[in-house]
Symmetry: C2
Subunit: 218 residues, 2 copies
């Protein structure tokens, strides 16, 4: 059984690896974990010993199959809990991260599979990031800004970029939620505002707003 700390290191290594796969080094991990490089060295030696990471002195690290599996499981749990917090408990999109950081370490496979079912098998978390399935597969979709959707195209809301309270209120009052299907009716070249349709109701949306909504193509 891994400790929360070990799980967090694996998650950090995974997430650094996504953008910089060739240089997951002590310093970057230390920054992500808000700790000192020497502490990181201690921990990566321990994780290498347990075969969750590949490690050669001075050469940085990468996850083994086992290590990657665990990292992805944690991410899956994190994102499912975020959906729960937003969709069921009505937290705002920007309030959930910290709580999900705690909930992601709860150990129970049954819990996660029942939670997933309860949430109706969501495919994205409230920030538009994909939720890995129980086998660790991640459906990599294109996360597009609404502003760059073609006229006359349908798309589905999968998340928000920025989540100020006023922005969330705007979405609320126009019945735009995660999973809403929108259609772009027309775009105004002058100010980049757009006319969209949601539930057969037309709404005019400023460029400010359309740049903050992540959607995916239908």
């Amino acid at each position: 059984m891994l400790s929360q700390t070990e799980e967090n290191y694996l998650k950090a290594i995974y997430s650094i690896g996504l953008s910089k796969p060739k240089s997951v080094n002590t310093t970057l991990i230390a920054k992500k974990m808000e700790t000192k490089p020497s502490s990181v060295t201690d921990m990566i030696q321990k994780l290498a010993e347990k075969e969750f990471i590949h490690y050669e002195k001075y050469k940085g690290v990468s996850l083994t199959q086992q290590g990657k599996k665990i990292a992805v499981e944690i991410i899956r749990k994190h994102r499912l809990w975020e959906v729960f917090l937003v969709n069921k408990l009505h937290f705002n999109w920007d309030e959930v991260h910290e709580i999900a950081e705690q909930l992601e370490h709860i150990k129970s496979d049954a819990l996660i599979s029942k939670l997933e079912e309860f949430l109706d098998f969501p495919k994205h978390d409230p920030h538009g990031d994909p939720i890995p399935d129980e086998n660790g597969n991640i459906a990599h979709h294109k996360k597009i800004m609404l502003s760059s959707v073609e006229t006359n195209t349908h798309c589905i809301v999968i998340g928000v970029k920025d989540s100020s309270s006023s922005f969330l209120k705007f979405l609320d009052s126009n019945n735009i939620q995660l999973g809403s299907t929108l259609k772009v009716i027309s775009k105004e070249e002058f100010d980049n505002s757009m006319l969209i349709e949601n539930n057969n109701i037309s709404i005019s949306i400023s460029n400010q707003i359309s740049k903050n909504l992540f959607v995916k193509n239908l």
Copy 2:
């Protein structure tokens, strides 16, 4: 901020204190915590230092106001999560304790207050134990076995004693849930079975079963 271990010690001390207020001693705590008496001594010295418990060498311990407040908060969280697991995720009544033991340590006041609202302010957990309110007040009700309810009286199901899968299935198939209102129609002296009414439907119930259902008077 208390560690999970510290929280668990306070919870253990609280729960031992309920049945044996005069003798919350090292041995009993060690048994409850599944640890050694010497470890308990170390911890109670630390908790006494932090003023969560009253402690005099060789004399046992008792909770301070502060200590009791925290213990009750943990119990509140534990029981709310149990309701969530049973009512929303459809776990059986006997599967939830272990998971709630983990969830009770999640730190977020907002989370608990939103969870409570989401669950519709339940007053009892699935075992019939009362859920403390946000100020730590516990509504002590009488937890009666259905078997001892008077004929012609109404009562509300607040929990189960034993929860074998076959028993839970019986409840399920007769639409008996937490909060169900039952009326005792008649009792059979011969085998102590009883006839009850649930949703205007009469059900015959063996003594086996009526001894396993906790109810409270309406």
